[in-house]
Each structure stands twice: as structure tokens, then as C-alpha cells.
């Protein structure tokens, strides 16, 4: 099955982290294009700053690869093969995890521009003129290489996050299912980041994102349904013993008490075209009450979540939580500033630069 060479969860984790990192890089590039750091005046400064950004990002990426490789390598040599006899059980668990990851990440895609804005603000604040703390060569160093340090730290942080998550979900996946999704995730994330940098027709991008997200959620709902199906199949195989595999698609290959429909053909686990149907939509030739109900519940939950998120966006708070939300927002934004690690970087620049930053902030598309 495709899961032997392509672990969906790993793909999505790497995709998301790469996306976020490439958003940061693209925003930075956009800023310096707009002239932050005196780059508008001097093309060599511009080129230097661009190089800084790429060196910082590249260095972070390299360290991630090394750390990641070492981590995953030791993980696999220490880990044992628990795939074995409870195949359906593991498949069920993995499917549900993948479905959850995709679900959480999916909606963020549609607010990609919002993500970009968030980063614009963060980076702008980081570049803002403010009280300079600390003295000496360290401050000088960070001032000079701020454009490299920022992407370096971002890429490093996103990368480590990715490694930890991937380690977690790959606990029972085969080592073969590793390289392909990582490469694909990196590629996909970089491509989307590049599109954002280039800007282009916002609406066209949004349509594309909507279609992609719909597709994503079809896959996720299918995965969720298949996860539940796998659990029920595991119980059945345990009850009957080894004979189930002999039954193919026929009577005895499924539990009649839990079955909602069954056709003696079109097996999504074994026959050609139907496997694609199975991979995309979660089609099973022998559906259980559990698999169908979970499919519908998944969509219902999604609809409710979207509804809630839209409500928040329109009104600034979740339904019935107006009072509580206002109370929370009263806490000063300074808390946010302190949380952000970028602020540990010494601020640099003059008031001129601060003005440039603000201009860049409002003018960057």
C-alpha cells in the first residue's frame, strides 16, 4: 500500500513547518526589497542583506538536517518492529492521527494571508527602533547580522518542531515511508512560500487554496473513517482467527452484525482503481456502522468549527464568550512581545530605519 512509502502525517507536518519558515523568509525578502535597512539606497547592501537572509536560513536548515537525521536514526535503531500482527490496529491509529493533523492544518491554509500579516507585524516589531539593551560585541554582532539571525532562528525553531512531531507520528511507520514525504513536504512548502512572495493575483491564489483545502478535507474525512473501520476490522480478525484472509471479499470477511453495506467486489484494500477511491475518499466495499457514522460526525464537527471561527473573525470573540474574551485582551500586548524570541535580538537602526520599517509594513502586499 502507499503507506509503505509515503507517510501522510509526515508530509503534512513537514509541509506546515516549511510553509511557516518560507513565509518568514519571503516576508523578510519583501521588507528589504521595500528598503528596510537602507537597502533601497545601495544595491550592494541589498545584495548583502539578501545573502544574509539565505545564509541564515540555509544554516538553520543544515543544522536541522543534521540534528533531525541523528534523532530519527537513533529512534529507528532503538525502536522495534511493532507493525506485526496488529496491523489493522496500527493502521487505525495512524489514520486517525493523520486525519487530525490534516484537519488542524487545513483551515490555516485558507488564512495564509493572515499568517503572512502576523509575521509582518512580528518582524516589523523586531526591526523597530526600541530601547537597546546590553552592550559590547554581542550587541554589535547581532545588529550587524540581524537579517541572518532572524531566519536562522526561525528555520531552526520550525525545523526542530517538525523533527519532534515527525518522531512522534513515525513511531510505528516503516523507515521506507520516510524520505519521500519529507522531500515532498519541503518542496510543497517552499513552492507555496514562493507564491506568497511573488504575490500575484490574490483571488486566483485563494480559489486554488479553497480547492486544495476541500480536497484535503475529503482525504482527512476518509482517513478518519478508515481509522474507525480499521479498529473494527481488527476486532473481527481477532475473533475469527487466521481464516479471514481466505475469505477475500466474500461472506466471512466481515462482521455481519456491524455491517452497513457489503458488495462482493470493488475492494478498496486490494483491487486497482478502487484503491484510489479508498485512498482519497475512504471507500470500503464493506462499510460498518462505525465507519459511516464517524465520517458524518467528522464533517459535522468541521462545519461547526468553521462556523465558530467565522463568528470569531466577525465579532472578535466566540459566541457567548464576549465578556471573557474582552477580559483576556485587556492584558497588555507587552506580554506578546516578551514571548516572542525575536525580541531577544537587539534592536538596531535609527529612527530613520524605524520609519522605513513602518512604511514597509504598510506597503508590503
Amino acid at each position: 500500500m502507499y503507506q509503505n512509502i509515503f507517510n501522510v502525517s509526515i508530509f503534512f507536518i513537514v509541509f506546515r513547518e516549511t510553509l511557516e519558515a518560507s513565509v518568514v523568509v519571503s516576508v523578510l525578502l519583501a521588507f528589504i526589497k521595500q528598503g528596510v535597512g537602507k537597502s533601497a539606497d545601495d544595491p550592494t547592501v541589498y545584495k548583502k542583506l539578501v545573502r544574509h537572509i539565505w545564509i541564515g536560513a540555509g544554516l538553520g536548515f543544515l543544522i536541522c538536517l543534521v540534528v533531525g537525521g541523528a534523532f530519527i536514526g537513533t529512534w529507528y535503531t532503538l525502536g522495534t518492529d511493532i507493525w506485526g500482527a496488529s496491523e489493522d490496529l496500527w493502521e487505525g491509529i495512524l489514520s486517525i492521527i493523520a486525519a487530525i493533523i490534516i484537519s488542524i492544518m487545513g483551515l490555516a491554509l485558507l488564512r495564509l494571508n493572515k499568517m503572512k500579516e502576523k509575521w509582518r507585524v512580528k518582524i516589523a516589531k523586531a526591526l523597530e527602533q526600541s530601547n537597546i539593551r546590553g552592550k559590547g560585541w554581542f550587541r554589535h554582532f547581532t545588529r550587524k547580522y540581524a537579517m541572518a539571525i532572524l531566519p536562522f532562528i526561525t528555520v531552526l525553531r520550525e525545523g526542530v518542531e517538525a523533527i519532534v512531531f515527525v518522531g512522534g507520528v513515525s513511531i510505528s511507520s516503516s523507515a521506507k515511508a520516510f524520505p519521500l514525504p519529507v522531500v515532498c513536504g519541503l518542496a510543497a512548502g517552499s513552492v507555496v512560500g514562493y507564491i506568497l512572495y511573488k504575490g500575484g493575483d490574490f483571488m486566483k491564489i485563494q480559489y486554488f487554496l479553497i480547492v486544495a483545502t476541500c480536497f484535503l478535507y475529503l482525504v482527512a474525512s476518509g482517513l478518519f473513517s478508515k481509522g474507525v473501520w480499521s479498529f473494527q476490522n481488527h476486532e473481527w480478525v481477532k475473533a475469527v482467527g487466521s481464516d479471514v484472509s481466505e475469505e477475500g471479499d466474500g461472506p466471512g470477511s466481515y462482521d455481519i452484525r456491524k455491517n452497513l453495506w457489503h458488495v462482493n467486489c470493488c475492494n478498496g484494500e486490494t483491487s486497482g482503481g478502487w484503491m484510489i477511491f479508498n485512498a482519497i475518499l475512504g471507500w470500503e466495499n464493506s462499510a460498518t456502522y462505525g465507519s459511516v457514522i464517524s465520517y458524518n460526525l467528522y464533517w459535522l464537527t468541521l462545519m461547526m468549527t468553521v462556523g465558530l471561527m467565522l463568528f470569531k473573525e466577525r465579532h472578535g470573540h466566540y459566541p457567548f464568550l464576549k465578556f471573557w474574551t474582552k477580559k483576556r485582551n485587556a492584558a497588555p500586548l507587552a506580554q506578546e512581545e516578551q514571548k516572542s524570541p525575536e525580541n531577544e535580538i537587539q534592536q538596531f537602526g535609527s529612527s530613520d530605519e524605524s520609519r522605513e520599517t513602518k512604511e514597509a509594513l504598510v506597503s508590503v502586499v
Partner: protein, 602 residues
């Protein structure tokens, strides 16, 4: 004509005067026993002993068996396998066919004459009860047998498979359940010789022993041989045959073979005798299963008892080629029944066995009692039920049964009340997916004088053809003698000359009393309806078939799921398209505040 019949009557009564009456009182009860030395369990014994005692009588004797059920927890019934019960169909014994189950605390009397010589056996015919212990030989001595005087001792030998768990428990939990969708029969735990193992059969040199062999098992056919000793087959299932040399027998459950074995000259050695399971019939072979059982022809108690030698292949004698002493040419059939044997799953997920599309389900009223209470309607097969698969046969006709097996297993089929000519038996089909079907236009091998017996096996995906004369009015069961398959419904009913049964036979009161004691119906059609015999409402039927494809609820589920997905995607699109002014506003807020901050700090 009158003179002849007078003479016949005189002769009969003369014989009858010489015949004795043999009476047995059987108390059927649970006995603690451990035949394979591995496992102590309760088995069904008789009169405080297990194995149950053999019944012995001479030909023409009257046998009366008074059976009292002291089991406490199960009904019972006894069938005398191979005996014709001519004129006394009610004594045949299968529950649902000729009698009700005899409930605990009740009794029933089987009273019949034996007009056949040879080896038979008796066993429970309630549910799958007999492998729980209630089975033993029934020996009929005949001083006029064709090989009289050719042997020194007349003895018997039983072989059997054996289960540690009780049959009702195995049936409910392991066999007839949806978690056994392939219908795999439970694997026996041991093989037995004379309900024991490692038996010593004491023999003297230069003597001939007549050994009546019967397989009283539930499932497995066995190969039997005596190392270094050949023997002659002289009788099968009560039919004398021309003595035939052989070195190995293949005996299915319920079959009997009587052999003459001549011992060697010297007493210096003992020789192993082996019975070995036909492991083809087992779904799987557990590692700890010992599928042979050994004994020894013991010439010298003090000599060694060697282990049996391993053999390469089973070289057994094919009983199809035996020639009866009373030779008959093949009958020409008057009425032919053709049935296909198959195993399929029904709507409750359980695997059942079928003759054509019907899996046998016992009626509410035993079929014989329906005959007795149906007057002129007794010749209409409808009244006997939709799931008893009943054929009504005429009197004094030749009936043919053609059985085409669509199953890759070997099955031993038994016909009550008769022996039959084995006209043809095909080889096994070349593979699991092809079937050999009887074609009367292209017959296979038919012997000049066909072999006769009452239990014959069909080969995988093959067929057999049998013929018999309907000269014994009665209700006769035809079924696979593998107890598991009988539980799955591999049976059909023959109502032979019902008008004759009504006019010539009587059901004894104690038989009806057993029905009443157990609360069972004993009059009317298969549903118990005494008023309208053609109204079968309330009869027992086989489970519904599995649904083929999408049922109504499946379609609803599918449609609903599609709607969910589409509406869900609609929500996603709505979210995607909803305006982003809020983001701009947030940015502006933050910008405003930070501008204030930076101004303030200057």
C-alpha cells in the same frame, strides 16, 4: 397363491419360535472417564459404565431396549444404525423424523426384530450427542453365515476420534457461529482403539480371527492396517461379500468392515496395529495432535511392543470393488432424485450445509407423526414442511439418488432403513474449482454386481449414484454422517409409502408419552397445525440469506455521507471566501499601539 402364503407363514412362525427375545434396560447417565489418558471428563455412559455395553443378539431375535434418560440436563434418543426396522419405523430413532426427544426423567422402549446378520452399532440421534459418549457396537450373530467355521474367534474392534470438550459447547462457541465463517469443523483431540489407546489384542498363532470393525467417530475417516498381516474382507455394513484380500482399510464414520485375519506361525514377536486419521478431513493440523492410535497383535506378553513403522502412502482397498455374496444386477430406477451438496453462509453469518438450496431444519412435529395424523394428505410433500426437504416415495419402486458434490471435502452419506447398490462413484475432481457431475448419457464405471452397503462416501467435488428398492414403508433420513455437517443441515427426508405406514404400523403409547412429557407437539403438519395441513405458518425455517449488495439502509448511509461531504465543502469554501477585513483591522490596531509605544519611549 394361498398355499404359498400359508407355507410362508408356517415357515416364518417356525423361525420365530426358534428366535429369542433379548431385553436390555439402559439407564443413560453421565460417567466420569479418561479414554486417552489426557483429560478427565464426563461422558454419556449406560448403567454406570463407559464405554456403553455392546448389544448382542442372534439373527431373527426380537430386541427390546428400555431406555431411561437419567442425564438430567439433556434429552436423548437412540438409533440402531443399519437395521431396517421393517414394519416398526417408530423404532428407528432420529429425533424430528420418527420420534420426539426423550426428556430427562422419561423413558422410551425400542422393540423390534433383527432380520439382518453382521455388524451394526447404536448411537444417540439427538443433536450431535453421540460423540459425547453414547455409542457402542450392535452385533448380530448368524450361524448360517457363508464363512461359518472358517475362523476361531469372533470379536470386534471400534475406532473413533475423540473430543475433550462437550459437543453442545463446541457447537455453540466454536462451530455454528459467525466467527467460524468457513465452517471449519473442530479438530479432535485424539484417536481411539476400542475407546482406549495402546490396546493389546491377544492372539494365538495359526488361528483365524473374525474381527468386526466399526468407526464410531464423529468426523474423521481412518486407515486401518495390521503390520505384516493381510486379511480378507468378508462383510460390509451387514452385507456379506466374496472374501477379498486386502492389507489396509479406509473406513468412514458409521461404516463397518468385518475381516478374517489369520495369525502367523510363531510367537516370537508382537505386531503393531494402527489406525490413522485421514488428515485431509481436518481443517488444520495442530502441532500437538497425535492422529494415529496404536495397538498390538499380542502373540507374547513378554516380548517387545515395537513402535509402528512409518509408511509412505495409504494403499487401501476401494470398497467400490467388493462383490456381494448375494449377487444382484444393477436395478433400473423408477424414480430419481438428484441433489447438489454445497456449503454456504446465510444471513446470520453462519456457515450451513445444503442439499440444493435447502438446509435441513427439524419440523415441530416428527415427520412420522405427521404421516400418522394426515390421512389422505400424506402423499403431498407440502405438509411435511418447507425445510425438511421431503420426497414422497411410492411402494415397491426402485429409487435412485444422484448426489453431485460441490464441496471439496469427503462426505460419508447414510440412508436409514435400507442398504443401497452403489452404482457409480466418481473420482475427485482435478482441482477445487471444477466439479464432476453425473451424466446418465455418459456413465462411468459400473460393476457387474454392484456393491451394497448403507454408508458410502463421495469424493471431493465428485458424485455418486445409489439405488434401492422402496420395500420398507417408513420415514427414512438420508444425511451426511459427519455430526458437524448434520448440525449444519446436510440432510433430507424420504417418506416411503405413507399409506402403507398408516395402515400397517402403530406408534406405541410410550413414544407419545415422551413427547407429552417434553412438551413437544406430536400431531399435525410440520408446523403443528392439525386443522389445515397446508397452512405451515409457525414452521421452523432456515435463516434468511445474506443480502446481496446494497440494502436500503446501505443506500441511505451512502447518500447521507455524500451530502455531508458536499455541505462540509461548502462551509470550507464559505470560510475561504469570507472577507479579510478583520486581518487588516488587527494590523492597524497593532501598528497604532506600537507607534504610540515608540513615540512614548523617545
Amino acid at each position: 397363491m394361498r398355499a404359498f402364503s400359508l407355507l410362508a407363514t408356517l415357515a416364518a412362525s417356525a423361525t420365530a419360535a426358534l428366535a429369542a427375545t433379548v431385553q436390555y434396560d439402559f439407564s443413560v447417565e453421565w460417567i466420569q472417564a479418561n479414554p486417552d489418558g489426557d483429560y478427565d471428563r464426563e461422558l454419556i455412559g449406560i448403567n454406570g459404565q463407559w464405554p456403553p455395553p455392546p448389544i448382542k443378539c442372534n439373527i431373527h431375535d426380537r430386541v427390546i431396549v428400555n431406555v431411561t434418560n437419567n442425564l438430567g440436563n439433556e434429552p436423548t434418543a437412540i438409533h440402531f444404525h443399519g437395521l431396517f426396522m421393517n414394519g416398526t419405523n417408530a423404532m428407528d430413532g432420529p429425533v424430528g423424523v420418527t420420534q420426539c426427544p426423550v426428556p430427562p426423567g422419561s423413558n422410551i422402549i425400542y422393540n423390534f426384530t433383527v432380520e439382518q446378520p453382521g455388524m451394526y452399532w447404536y448411537h444417540s440421534h439427538f443433536g450431535g450427542q453421540y460423540p459425547d459418549g453414547l455409542r457402542a457396537p450392535f452385533i448380530v450373530y448368524d450361524k448360517d453365515e457363508p464363512f461359518a467355521g472358517q475362523y476361531d474367534e469372533d470379536t470386534y474392534l471400534t475406532v473413533s476420534d475423540y473430543y475433550h470438550q462437550s459437543i453442545p459447547w463446541l457447537t455453540a462457541n466454536k462451530f455454528l457461529t459467525l466467527i467460524n465463517p468457513t465452517g471449519a469443523e473442530p479438530i479432535p483431540d485424539a484417536a481411539l482403539f476400542n475407546d482406549s489407546q495402546n490396546i493389546k489384542f491377544n492372539v494365538e498363532p495359526n488361528k483365524t480371527y473374525k474381527i468386526r470393525i466399526v468407526n464410531v467417530g464423529a468426523l474423521v475417516s481412518q486407515y486401518i492396517w495390521f503390520e505384516d498381516h493381510d486379511f480378507k474382507i468378508v462383510e460390509v455394513d451387514g452385507i456379506y461379500v466374496e472374501p477379498t484380500d486386502a492389507s489396509m482399510l479406509y473406513i468412514t464414520v458409521a461404516q463397518r468392515y468385518t475381516i478374517l485375519l489369520t495369525t502367523k506361525n510363531s510367537t516370537d514377536q508382537n505386531y503393531p496395529m494402527i489406525s490413522s486419521f485421514d488428515t485431509d478431513m481436518l481443517d488444520k493440523l495442530p502441532e500437538d495432535l497425535v492422529w494415529n492410535v496404536t495397538g498390538w497383535l499380542t502373540y507374547d506378553e513378554n516380548a517387545a511392543f515395537p513402535e509402528p513403522a512409518l509408511i509412505d502412502q495409504y494403499d487401501f482397498y476401494d470398497d467400490f470393488n467388493l462383490v456381494p455374496v448375494e449377487k444382484e444386477l444393477p436395478y433400473e430406477p423408477d424414480y430419481s432424485i438428484t441433489v447438489d451438496v454445497s456449503m454456504q453462509n446465510l444471513g446470520n453469518g453462519v456457515n450451513y450445509a445444503f442439499f440444493d438450496e435447502l438446509s435441513y431444519v427439524a419440523p415441530n412435529v416428527p415427520t412420522l407423526y405427521t404421516v400418522m395424523s394426515s390421512g389422505n394428505d400424506s402423499t403431498d410433500a407440502t405438509i411435511y414442511g418447507s425445510n425438511t426437504h421431503t420426497y414422497v416415495l411410492g411402494y415397491q419402486e426402485v429409487i435412485e439418488i444422484v448426489l453431485n458434490s460441490k464441496d471439496p471435502g469427503k462426505h460419508p452419506f447414510h440412508l436409514h432403513g435400507h442398504v443401497f447398490q452403489v452404482i457409480e462413484r466418481s473420482e475427485a475432481s482435478p482441482d477445487d474449482n471444477s466439479f464432476l457431475v453425473y451424466d446418465p448419457a455418459n456413465p462411468g464405471t459400473v460393476n457387474e454386481y454392484p456393491m451394497r452397503r448403507d454408508t458410502v462416501y463421495v469424493r471431493p467435488n465428485g458424485y455418486f449414484v445409489i439405488r434401492f428398492k422402496s420395500d420398507n414403508p417408513g420415514v427414512w433420513f438420508f444425511h451426511c454422517h459427519i455430526e458437524w455437517h448434520l448440525a449444519q443441515g446436510l440432510a433430507l427426508t424420504l417418506v416411503e409409502a405413507p399409506a402403507e405406514i398408516q395402515s400397517k404400523q402403530v406408534i406405541p403409547e410410550d413414544h407419545y408419552a415422551a413427547c407429552k412429557a417434553g412438551g413437544y407437539a406430536y400431531e399435525g403438519n410440520a408446523a403443528g397445525n392439525t386443522v389445515n395441513l397446508f397452512d405451515l405458518k409457525g414452521e421452523k425455517l432456515q435463516p434468511k440469506p445474506l443480502p446481496a449488495g446494497f440494502t436500503a439502509r446501505g443506500i441511505v448511509a451512502m447518500v447521507f455521507s455524500c451530502i455531508s461531504a458536499f455541505v462540509g465543502m461548502g462551509f470550507i469554501t464559505w470560510y475561504g471566501l469570507s472577507d479579510l477585513k478583520t486581518t487588516e483591522r488587527e494590523v492597524a490596531e497593532v501598528m497604532g499601539e506600537s507607534l504610540d509605544d515608540s513615540d512614548a519611549s523617545k
